[in-house]
Structures are given as structure tokens and as C-alpha cells.
Amino acid sequence: MTAKPKLYYFRGRGRMESIRWLLAAAGVEFEEEFLEKREQYEKLEKDGCLLFGQVPLVEMDGMMLTQTRAILSYLAAKYNLYGKDLKERVRIDMYVDGTLDLMLMIMLAPFKPPKEKEENFALIMKKAKTRYLPAFEKILKDHREDFLVGNKFSWADVQLLEAILMLEELNASVLSDFPLLKAFKTRISNIPTIKKFLQPGSQRKLHPDQHYVDVVRHILQF
């Protein structure tokens, strides 16, 4: 009998949130161990669980997987969210990588010095509105299908929805010029597994606050 995947990370979004989303979207139940003290992190290191001394760490299928993209790609392949062939997979990879570039900016924002925060926020919004959102609006416009790739729900759709919701937390009107993305957001949000994950009480984590930033700085010592 296979155990549930077990996620080791801080009690917050960070680099683990995309993994939680993908597992949830695939309807896979998972457990979490939250790192709240430096000792827990040191123990994982000492036990040889962290290949490069870093989290996220996901224990599943007999493996101690680290590196966010390695974990996400594995999950996408295992749960049939990676397209039907190599050509679909490369498109999913392209879309996901673009989305993750934008999300990394958002993820690192709380750790910027106070005097850089406003400029950083403006840059995120500019990139979102002039680079990333137009690219995805165009994809949806060109094929008029419900999903980004191959007329079928994939990792690319999950990743983009996650990014859209994070952007809307920063600026509620960010989709105002992107009607197809608005419709996409509604459609993907209504997929039963996603709908469930979006409800209160799920394992979805909250917007990072100062406490989260402090815990991460304390454990990773930076």
C-alpha cells in the first residue's frame, strides 16, 4: 500500500505552493510536516534527506525528491497532466517556465528590503501586463480551446491559474484587459479538484506575512 506523499516545508507558500496546487489538482491527498525551528531543518540535513541542503522536499514513491521543478515534472508525468506526446510536453514546459519566472518575482517580493518593495511591485505588474498575460491571452485566442495545450487539462493550466490568483491578490483588476484569461480563470477554478482546493480549510496556504518571512529567515539563516 503506497503512503501519501509527504511535503516538508515552512508553513507558507514559497516554492512548495505550486506542488500543493498540482497534487490537489490531480486529486492526490498529501501530508505535510512544517519547518518551524532550525533544529528540524538541521535534522533533515543530517539524515541526508536534502540533496543540496534545501527544501522543498517531497517524500514519495520511495524517493526523497528536492528541486521544485523536478518534483512538479514528476507529478505532472505521474498524474497525466503533461500532454500526450513530446510536442505537447514542450509547450507545457514553455508555458510553465514562463509562468514560474513571473511567480518567482512574486515569491521573492516579501524578502526585498523595504525601500525596494514599491519598485519591485511595479516591475511585477509591468511584466505581468506586458509580457506574460498577453502571451497566454494570445494562446487562448489562437486556438479557442478551453485549456492551454491539447484541448485537455494539464499542468500548464494549473500553474497559470495559481499565478493569476496571486496577481489578483496584488491588484484585483490585473485581468481587466484579458477577457479570455478571465474566462479561463473561472473555468479552471470550477474543476472539482481545484474548486475543493480553493475552499477554506484546504491545504492551500495564505499570502505571506511578516511572521512567515521571519521564520524562513531564521531557519535558513539569511
Binding site: 543540496f52 524517493m63 521543478r69 523536478a70 510536453r89 514546459d93 514553455m94
Partner: protein, 221 residues
């Protein structure tokens, strides 16, 4: 008839070099269209060839691929350098992402503000010695095989050996205490396709010099 892959980038290593290494190691001939001015880049953007207005871009099999990882994943799969199943692929991905993290630090070193360069170089050396090289030495030691994953050459070996060359350019002493990494480097370097790529006159790009850096700055602002 499929043409050769066409690589669009500027005349330097940057984010395209790992693609050049992988294609070369796979024995795949490729062509390059060099971006030499802001106008060259603008042309690619205006013709809609760059999904996120960024290079690298590789034209291959009727597609215009962007995003380094997407490109490398495609090439690795197509040329059977990505393991035999999803578990091997997960290990390869994990190793490759670690290589990419250290590679990124080295890549960005030339554009660090002058006052920060020394500190960044020291950090690279520290991470190499205490995090990355020990991790890969341990993997090789744990199974005693010639290659990182599945007892067979994969992209993980190629990317790691490429990285070892860059580390040695910064400080040749860093690999001193890692005998299995030295052996991997020698083994991969002597593969006929890689050996050819390592010779002068190949499409391998040299370290960034001041002139190329200035050119890159103009193009990418």
C-alpha cells in the same frame, strides 16, 4: 525534410551554452543566428518569434522553442538522454536543477555590481565546495557507476561536466578533493562527440570578455 536546429542568441555562452553542449554531445549538427544589435532582437520580437520576448530561442522540428529548460527537456528526450522512466527522469531533473542553480550564480557573476563581485565569487566557491560538488561526488560514490543515473550517459552527466569546466575556469583547485567528479569529467570529455566539441573551431563559446559583455548589455539593456 527537417533542417538542422537553428539557435538564436548572442555571440556568447549565456543561457544558450548548455543547449550547444547537449546538442553537440548528442551528435546533432546545428546552426546559429547571432543577435548582434538591439535591432536584431527587436526583429525577432516583432515577427512574433519569441513567446516571452526573450532568447534563447531554438527553431527545431517546426517549432520556435523558448525557455531554456523547455528546450533542454525536448532535446534530451528526443535524443534519449533523459533516463528510461519517470523515476530516472526525476533523479536527472533533481541533479540538473542543482547544476543550474550553481550555473546561474556563475552566469551572473560578470554582471554583478563591482563592489559585490568578490563576495559573489567567494559564495560560488563556498557553495561549490560545501554543497554541490559533495552532493554529486556522493551520488557517484553511492552506486559506483560510470554515470550519474541508470548506469547510462544522460543529460545530467553532460550538464555537470560543463559546469565542472566553468568552475575550473574560476579556480582549478576546487575539484581537487573530488576524485569521482574528476573521473566523470575525463570520461565524458573523451566521448567522441564531446571530445570534438571541446576542440578549437567547434561552436563552443569562450568565456565572456569585456567586448562581448558590452555588446550584450546594449542588446539586452
Amino acid at each position: 525534410m527537417a533542417g538542422k536546429p537553428m539557435l538564436h542568441y548572442f555571440n556568447g555562452r549565456g543561457r544558450m551554452e548548455s543547449t550547444r553542449w547537449l546538442l553537440a554531445a548528442a551528435g546533432v549538427e546545428f546552426e546559429e543566428k547571432l543577435i548582434e544589435s538591439p535591432e536584431d532582437l527587436k526583429k525577432l520580437v516583432n515577427e512574433g518569434s519569441l513567446m516571452f520576448q526573450q532568447v534563447p530561442m531554438v527553431e527545431i522540428d517546426g517549432m520556435k522553442l523558448v525557455q531554456t529548460r523547455a528546450i533542454l527537456n525536448y532535446i534530451a528526450t528526443k535524443y534519449n538522454l533523459y533516463g528510461k522512466d519517470i523515476k530516472e527522469r526525476a533523479l536527472i531533473d533533481m541533479y540538473v536543477e542543482g547544476v543550474a542553480d550553481l550555473g546561474e550564480m556563475i552566469l551572473l557573476l560578470p554582471v554583478a555590481p563591482p563592489g559585490e563581485k568578490d563576495a559573489k565569487l567567494a559564495l560560488i566557491k563556498e557553495k561549490t565546495t560545501n554543497r554541490y560538488f559533495p552532493a554529486f561526488e556522493k551520488v557517484l560514490k553511492s552506486h559506483g557507476q560510470d554515470y550519474l543515473v541508470g548506469n547510462k550517459l544522460s543529460r545530467a552527466d553532460i550538464h555537470l561536466v560543463e559546469l565542472i569546466y566553468y568552475v575550473e575556469e574560476l579556480d582549478p583547485s576546487l575539484i581537487a578533493n573530488f576524485p569521482l567528479l574528476k573521473a566523470l569529467k575525463a570520461r565524458v570529455s573523451s566521448l567522441p562527440t564531446v571530445k570534438k566539441f571541446l576542440q578549437p573551431g567547434s561552436q563552443r563559446k569562450p568565456p565572456l570578455d569585456q567586448k562581448t559583455l558590452e555588446q550584450g548589455r546594449k542588446i539586452f539593456k
